[in-house]
């Protein structure tokens, strides 16, 4: 999926003539905001393509071809925001996380067939078993918030990876903050 995303953003960057959009697959300045930005670049690109009569730049990329590759998962990542971040050692959903989850709830209501899994993660500065339990708490906190917004419980399962599978590599506070996360994924 990431390679697909990278290809996509690569194309988009090309379309946007080297406009400095953040890589949607990287950290993102807050849940899904990065993804959104990339998407808005695409819209600009699409507009440009329309004006140019289907041909864009030297590469001649058909922008319309992007649309069918947009899976539900891609939409969740790029349009909705798949990450809910948590404070150190905490599992309560922050206000920025609530916003992301409201978008996720909306997305799930628009796509009633979709079922998701929320994976809870922790930074590496804790013990293994506690972090598994804490990751599970985080995933459940996000799940409960979605349920409170009217999503049926059977549509959301949870799993915890504790500190075992960091989303972002690196051994500093910036990386750890990215790894204290509930990550939603379409099943």
């Amino acid at each position: 999926m990431w390679s697909k995303l990278l290809t996509l953003s690569g194309v988009l960057l090309f379309v946007a003539a080297c406009e400095t959009a953040p890589d949607g697959s990287a950290e993102g300045a807050g849940e899904g905001a990065g993804g959104k930005e990339v998407w808005s670049v695409e819209h600009e690109g699409a507009g440009g393509a329309g004006a140019g009569g289907g041909e864009v730049g030297a590469g001649g990329v058909e922008v319309a071809a992007v649309e069918p590759t947009m899976s539900s998962q891609d939409k969740l990542v790029q349009e909705v925001g798949d990450r809910v971040f948590f404070d150190f050692n905490k599992f309560s959903v922050r206000s920025d996380g609530e916003e992301t989850l409201r978008r996720q709830a909306q997305f799930l209501k628009q796509n009633p067939a979709l079922v998701i899994t929320i994976a809870g993660h922790c930074d590496e500065r804790g013990t293994r078993e506690y972090n598994l339990a804490l990751g599970e708490r985080r995933a459940n906190a996000a799940r409960n918030y979605l349920i409170s917004l009217g999503i049926h419980p059977t549509r959301i399962s949870t799993v915890s990876y504790g500190k075992e599978r960091p989303i972002v590599l690196g051994h500093n506070e910036a990386a750890w903050a990215q790894n204290r996360v509930g990550l939603s994924e379409v099943n």
Binding site: N89, E124, R125, G126, T127, R128, E129, Y130, L132, A133, L134, E136, R137, A139, N140, A141, R143, N144, T158, V159, S160, E164, R165, P166, I167, V168, L169, G170, H171, N172
Partner: protein, 459 residues
């Protein structure tokens, strides 16, 4: 007389006043840093603490009388030498200094020769290969100073199993001289790790306590964590991410078969066997709230032991099965608690120092609980009494975690991740250390290693 003193070795370690212990703790920290260059410095620190110097011991090649037999005899002597040296309690003397040849040692040794090289103990033996493929080994331990016979044993096993004979000899010597139970005829199960951190392969591996006979138990397709031995040794309980459904499994070492434990709707984690092997205790969060549960393996009945809105996990039984220690963050941070195994009992907090306390593991002797402490970004391994008194730290590092006890309750193993640089993860390795915080040694593994679990003595 000397032996009686050594019998009290570990008790005496604790009797020194606070100041001595504090300074010794500082020195133990120094040892961690300089360990690769100054492995023997650990011993010298023992002396400053009033702990006697390791015993000079002469371990001769076991006499065979034929090429094949001699080969086995030399190999056994090598393994015994390595075992006893690693324990920190013995200083094996270079064999080149020996004056009596193995074949001349089958009767009474010439003690004057051994006193001359300052040997305090002497190990001699004989190897016979039998027509049925068995190897038969006789060994004797002599007290050189007293000229006394201390231990004599005869052991037989299929030839390919000769290493166990060596470890049993080490155990007999260690026990006779130190008064503590041996721990060399044991195995370690651990998590072998490889690959980048975000796609880390984590699989179970099994090896002898000295790293020999290493083999992988799982193929790494599904992440494996926190293995623990059953008291009967044939089984390991662990957490497997089989099919992305993290559940507690039981793995049978002999058959290679595994079985998921129970049919639970959510993750089950942190398993450990009860001391009688009839139960597995673990934690589970059916509604997102992690509590401690126990399953009786015979009836498959599951009982909930804690009932608290905080995270309760990492349970471990006392060796008599009457109590359970576990961690909970009910006071905001992780702390260690003790409760009766009978769920109606009270839950008593026992950790009161700075920082967070995690991974409590009850010693097989019942007298200590080992733990992980996290304080101001430093991870350390420590021990405390089951009532929380006498707390001591025995190892620390960027990330040290997961203590496990040798069956004698006087040596521990844990894992440590070295301080990473920004883009490079640190090595993750296993270490053994005495309960006094001395004699820290890396346990050599073929790759990164975590979550060690020490087996009981092999029956």
């Amino acid at each position: 007389m000397r032996i009686t003193y050594r019998r009290r070795f570990f008790e005496e370690c604790w009797r020194f006043d606070r100041q001595l212990i504090t300074s010794a703790m500082y020195m133990a920290v120094l040892c961690v840093v300089v360990y690769p260059l100054l492995a023997h410095a650990v011993t010298e620190i023992d002396i400053t603490r009033g702990v006697v110097e390791p015993y000079p011991i002469a371990i001769t090649e076991l006499y065979g009388g034929g090429v094949d037999e001699d080969e086995v005899g030399i190999s056994i002597a090598d393994v015994v030498t390595a075992d006893l040296e690693r324990s920190g309690q013995f200083r094996p003397i270079d064999r080149r200094a020996f004056q009596q040849a193995p074949e001349d040692l089958q009767l009474m040794p010439r003690f004057v020769d051994w006193r001359q090289i300052n040997a305090q103990f002497l190990v001699v033996g004989r190897v016979q290969l039998q027509s049925d493929g068995q190897v038969r080994v006789e060994f004797r331990l002599w007290d050189v100073l007293a000229g006394e016979h201390l231990v004599g044993l005869s052991l037989s096993t299929p030839r390919e199993n000769w290493r166990r004979i060596a470890h049993l000899i080490s155990d007999a010597i260690y026990k006779r001289v130190t008064g503590e139970g041996g721990y060399f005829d044991t195995r370690i199960v651990y998590v072998a790790e490889s690959g980048p951190r975000d796609k880390r392969v984590k699989r179970l591996a099994l090896m002898d306590q000295d790293g020999a006979n290493h083999r992988f138990l799982t193929d790494g397709k599904h992440m494996a964590l926190t293995p623990r031995f059953s008291p009967t040794l044939q089984e390991i309980t662990y957490l497997s991410y089989f099919n992305d459904k993290p559940r507690v499994y039981i793995y049978n070492i002999d058959t290679g078969k595994q079985e998921v434990l129970g049919d639970f709707p959510t993750m089950t984690i942190a398993p450990r066997f009860s001391p009688d092997g009839n139960k597995v205790i673990m934690s589970m969060a059916p509604n997102g709230n992690s509590d401690i549960y126990v399953m009786d393996l015979r009836t498959r009945v599951v009982e909930k032991l804690t009932n608290h809105p905080a995270i309760e996990t990492a349970p471990s039984y006392s060796p008599d099965g009457k109590h359970i220690t576990f961690e909970s963050d009910r006071s905001d941070k992780q702390q260690i608690y003790v409760m009766d195994a009978d769920p109606s009992g009270e839950e008593q907090r026992i950790s009161w120092g700075d920082g967070k306390y995690a991974t409590p593991v009850w010693s097989p002797r019942g007298d200590w609980i080992a733990f992980t402490n996290i304080n101001k970004g430093v991870f350390s391994i420590g021990v405390m009494r089951p009532d929380g008194s006498d707390e001591r730290r025995i190892a620390k590092g960027y990330l040290t975690e997961g203590p496990t006890w040798a069956p004698n309750g006087r040596v521990l193993m844990f894992f440590r991740e070295d301080q990473p640089s920004d883009d490079m993860a640190g090595d993750v390795r296993l270490y053994s250390v005495d309960i006094t915080g001395t004699n820290e040694r890396e346990v050599i593994t073929p790759m990164d290693a975590s979550d060690p679990a020490w087996s009981p003595l092999i029956p």
